[in-house]
Assembly symmetry: C2
Amino acid sequence: MSSNNRLIFLPLGGAGEIGMNMYLYGYGPRNKERFILVDAGVTFPDMESTPGVDLIFADPSYIADRADRLDGIFITHAHEDHVGAIGHLYGLLNAPVYARRFTATVTRAKMEDQGRDLDQVIDVAAWPDKVKAGPFEVSFMPVAHSIPEASGLVIDTPAGRIVHSGDFKLDADPIIGEPFDPVLMREIARGGVHALICDSTNVFSQKPGRSESSLPEAITELVKDSTGLVVATTFASNIARLKTLADAGIAAGRSVCVLGRAMQNMLRYGEMAGVLHDFPPTVDLDDAHDIPRDRLMLLVTGSQGERRAASAQLANGKYLGFTLREGDTFLFSSKTIPGNETSVGRIINSLSEQGVDVIDDHSDKYHVSGHANRPDLETMHKLMAPKMMIPMHGEHRHLRAHSLLARSNGIASEIVPNGTMVDLTDDLPQIIDHIETGRLYLDGSVKIGAMDGVVRERLRMAIRGVVAVSLVLEGKDVVGVWVEPMGLPEGGLLDAGLADVLEAEVERALNGTTAKVLKNDDACEELVHRTVTKYCNDLVGKKPITQIMINRLV
Amino acid sequence: MSSNNRLIFLPLGGAGEIGMNMYLYGYGPRNKERFILVDAGVTFPDMESTPGVDLIFADPSYIADRADRLDGIFITHAHEDHVGAIGHLYGLLNAPVYARRFTATVTRAKMEDQGRDLDQVIDVAAWPDKVKAGPFEVSFMPVAHSIPEASGLVIDTPAGRIVHSGDFKLDADPIIGEPFDPVLMREIARGGVHALICDSTNVFSQKPGRSESSLPEAITELVKDSTGLVVATTFASNIARLKTLADAGIAAGRSVCVLGRAMQNMLRYGEMAGVLHDFPPTVDLDDAHDIPRDRLMLLVTGSQGERRAASAQLANGKYLGFTLREGDTFLFSSKTIPGNETSVGRIINSLSEQGVDVIDDHSDKYHVSGHANRPDLETMHKLMAPKMMIPMHGEHRHLRAHSLLARSNGIASEIVPNGTMVDLTDDLPQIIDHIETGRLYLDGSVKIGAMDGVVRERLRMAIRGVVAVSLVLEGKDVVGVWVEPMGLPEGGLLDAGLADVLEAEVERALNGTTAKVLKNDDACEELVHRTVTKYCNDLVGKKPITQIMINRLV
């Protein structure tokens, strides 16, 4: 019987994008596997593909349909792309959520936002402590990243030990949180690692990564050399960086004020979880206004150009009473995530117009990445010496490059994108199934499927414009025609506006057609659609979406 | 009298963005200046800010209103951001267009597309030849860039010599076209340069730029090492790069096939203009299909991820009968322009899914920029030794950094963004006026102003969705109510669809109001708008755009 047991791995999100991490491990006989879920993250919408959408989740249907066989949810760390969906999706999952203390604190806040039961979130100590979840024994393996208490998972299964790396970097001195500890890694690897499931985001970065501890000197020097107000932004959850920035402010003789709720929350969580002890004293907003600008440093949110965050508001003129001016310094202690270049550029240009000196990631001096670069990945492969390496967390190009890297070093590997079920039981990974996966959009207060067509319709309206037509018909008589173009140009050469011309043409078309057409809604609609399309195209070169409403009097 | 004459510079586009270059020089008494226009470029729309828009131009109103005082239009080179608008805007400008032969060939194609008089485009030889245009004498100064016959302009005015750099780089061996020639620059500068108006796009690149001639060896090696089909993309107008790529293919024993109309056109223009002599022999599409894939190299368009170009189509599966597969190589011999990262990433990931080895700009080996980097700009400043330097072609941050660079070297400088009129007559630039400028959108077949609200309405529809409502009223009686939501979710918890619920609520609201409201269109509209907004927000958490059409029976 037990020879029917198999160990499977199925990424639902994160293996096809950077973001939206959600990975499933299963063990047992086919269709009777017990499962654990690792991470429940979000990714963020953009105007190009998801206008109006609030958040994007991996579609959890596969495990939601088998929620009775889910024995636990493990959150590796408290970044949005690993924990942001837990509150939204929890109702579909309903299993205990395990995390280390800081991560659990953030996880509880996410659960609370969505009215979930906070008791489902369970604090767990790190290795060598273990959580038993069905056939799995799971231990949190401290790694360095850009947030406190980031962890990989050591997942012991009847088929052998899995190491799920989580997001990590090789940092011997991350300032806050545990360093990456090769001794610990070797201890974990000692009995043999069956499979390493490994972060791939920085596989294209060719040089070894740098330590968080390489930054304080340069940042302190920068702040000391600044004459006006100094403003710095970074990811709110990068508490080590916040501490480095604040320490630099203090060292330069400035008072430090933390603006932006996300940063204040993260510092509070850090203190609650006991990972943050020695953050320097800060001043509150009221006091900050009384301090001369050359004695003040502000820490603000919005390093990715988010429209409503402090950085964008300062760039646009004013935020909480602060206005920037010639001689001030604005430091992006952050990297611009691909896709955010335009938004960040907009902020930098606005600041430039105000005469502010902007220090951004053109120089490498004021930011380091939280992920393992290519040589660091090879180090991890060597430390773990797994039978197989499955790349996770990356776009397809990252997964492929990471997989090729492992193979070039003699480690078996497969590319396992979202929805691909791989059997890890034996010595070689075997792709055994493809599951329908996808994305859920939080759209207002509702979750919709990415393929539902709602967002596609919005994109079509934005590209083509809309013409709404209201008709009143009585039998074969046209009683009223009303045309309202939306998002369409007036038409440069027209005396009358576009609406007037379309109205006249629709009326003419209806009056020129047969009673048979007029009595048939579909035929009428088709005629009006054709007429509107033709004249819009003739007049302004566009073929709009039409919405035709026929009211019949009886 | 002549003491009233002044020399002015007014950027209409390009000094506030990378793209859309359009610069005006004027000389004469106030309000009687004679003008020349330099370049008439486009910039490209995106979904984030300009959905549905086809092309973006600088608003030429200022010079269009004074077209009788425009003595000439000078096109520095044939890139879209310098020449792309000439056909579209020519009707507003109506002055002779001067360009060197290759540029003039492309310019004529742009004019022909829009039905303009081709005789208005005049071929001009380079320095020391001169064109007299009103009070200006203009000479085309050959520079190196990423397109043949790129030129700066030497503009002699009664107030002194202006050097307008055009887009340029310091390349002693650009493969095709003239090298950057310091001897020529010194000759031009000998009598003194009053003002240098200078390209700023690469001011943040700290190292000296590299020559086009640094590429052939690495590219040839790459192609020789490839085993499957090799596909390479670059900008169609970079004829030197096309030649390098094709030469590399031939050296590797491959036949070369140029796909994509834009590339074929550019090669044809290059031959017509006499700048391209020794492009290697190519094969046509039919023959290419008969050649084994390891003996074939394709040159394709779409290096920026353009949806309809060859690269995107190959990534999506098939293009002109070619399908890529495991072991093929795809080379981006190009840089991804900021803002295009997502589109290019999409292509790379699709190629990765097909097992194609993608070589992109992570390595610097297969592409060099066409613009002068920061140290190169300093070299140009030294060669020209101008009294003042005005930065052009860049976002505000580039203009500012370039201006600060000049000042730090003791050269007077002002930041002169689009719409800023600067008086260059004396030894120091003086900002004297701000003109209302902006952008024109080509939207379908119509030009609209960026501030007209048309595109803003489209964006609002895409973010918020639309609810169209058609009412039929007879006096105070509600005869019909029809509600059509567009781009809105159905509402997860509803038994009835959103449309049904809204229709019922609108009907209830109308039936519950007073005769006074029902008889008044504005009041009715307001009531319906409020009702739709409230229930959409309650049901799906969104506040849509409403379009309410009231039909009254009499």
